[in-house]
Symmetry: C2
Subunit: 114 residues, 2 copies
DNA sequence: ATTGTATATATAAGTTGTTTATATATTACA
DNA sequence: TGTAATATATAAACAACTTATATATACAAT
């Protein structure tokens, strides 16, 4: 987990984007997916993930579906119609933010961070 | 200031990068520069900026040079040799982080956030 | 048998990094 | 005369994390 402090603020957007793309996911699955997509560079902690999921549920951004799998409870999360519009907004913001960051760290001739 | 929560964690890297590129800068100048580079999308608050600068100074990442300009005090901040190696590390982390974020929000066919 | 790893969710306490509010002071323009 | 721009600073409040802890099943290895 190299980018421990960089992740701050982007967790919610990451979760929403994955749910939008995969229809429905359970918490553990979300952490696996993020690790997979980032080659292990981003590892979500459950202490951060579950409170975020619960908060999004209380805000009406997503709903849950409990299911039993191999004697373990799985709680699937899926976006509400309102959730879909939230994702759209969040992805736009993040895209803009990434663009801004890139403009700032864009290396001028004479500097190298390789 | 659209990306209020996204900025969390990246402020330090932004400051270090600007100092590395511009030799030395004073606090107010840093906020102007960030606004300029991001078309006003990222506005640093002084309540966040100055504590970060003071902390970096106490850590030996940067040193200060006080000067008087038009009867106003300007405190220039510049990187120490140790500071330069910190920048290198931070930029690498941020570059990796941005890459990870992009892989996550990379839109698959059928989805659109335009 | 039992230890360890993977699967699965959850919360409380503590820490960190912000925002907001406030303070001070000069210059320049209307 | 007051408002915007320039310039730094700190305290209080808040939000978002990490760390620690708890619980429980399945499966593989020793």
């Amino acid at each position: 987990m190299i980018q421990s402090d960089l992740i701050k603020g982007s967790l919610k957007t990451i979760v929403l984007k994955l749910l939008d793309e995969n229809g429905r996911m359970y918490g553990y699955e979300i952490t696996r997916k993020v690790e997979e997509l980032t080659d292990g560079k981003i590892k979500l902690t459950y202490g951060a993930l579950y409170p975020v999921l619960h908060k999004l549920e209380s805000e009406g951004v997503l709903v849950t579906e409990s299911e039993n799998f191999n004697n373990r409870t799985r709680i699937y999360y899926l976006l509400t119609p309102h959730g879909h519009s939230v994702v759209t907004e969040k992805i736009k913001e993040m895209t803009e933010f990434i663009g801004s960051l890139q403009r700032i760290i864009d290396t001028k001739p004479g500097l190298s961070y390789a």
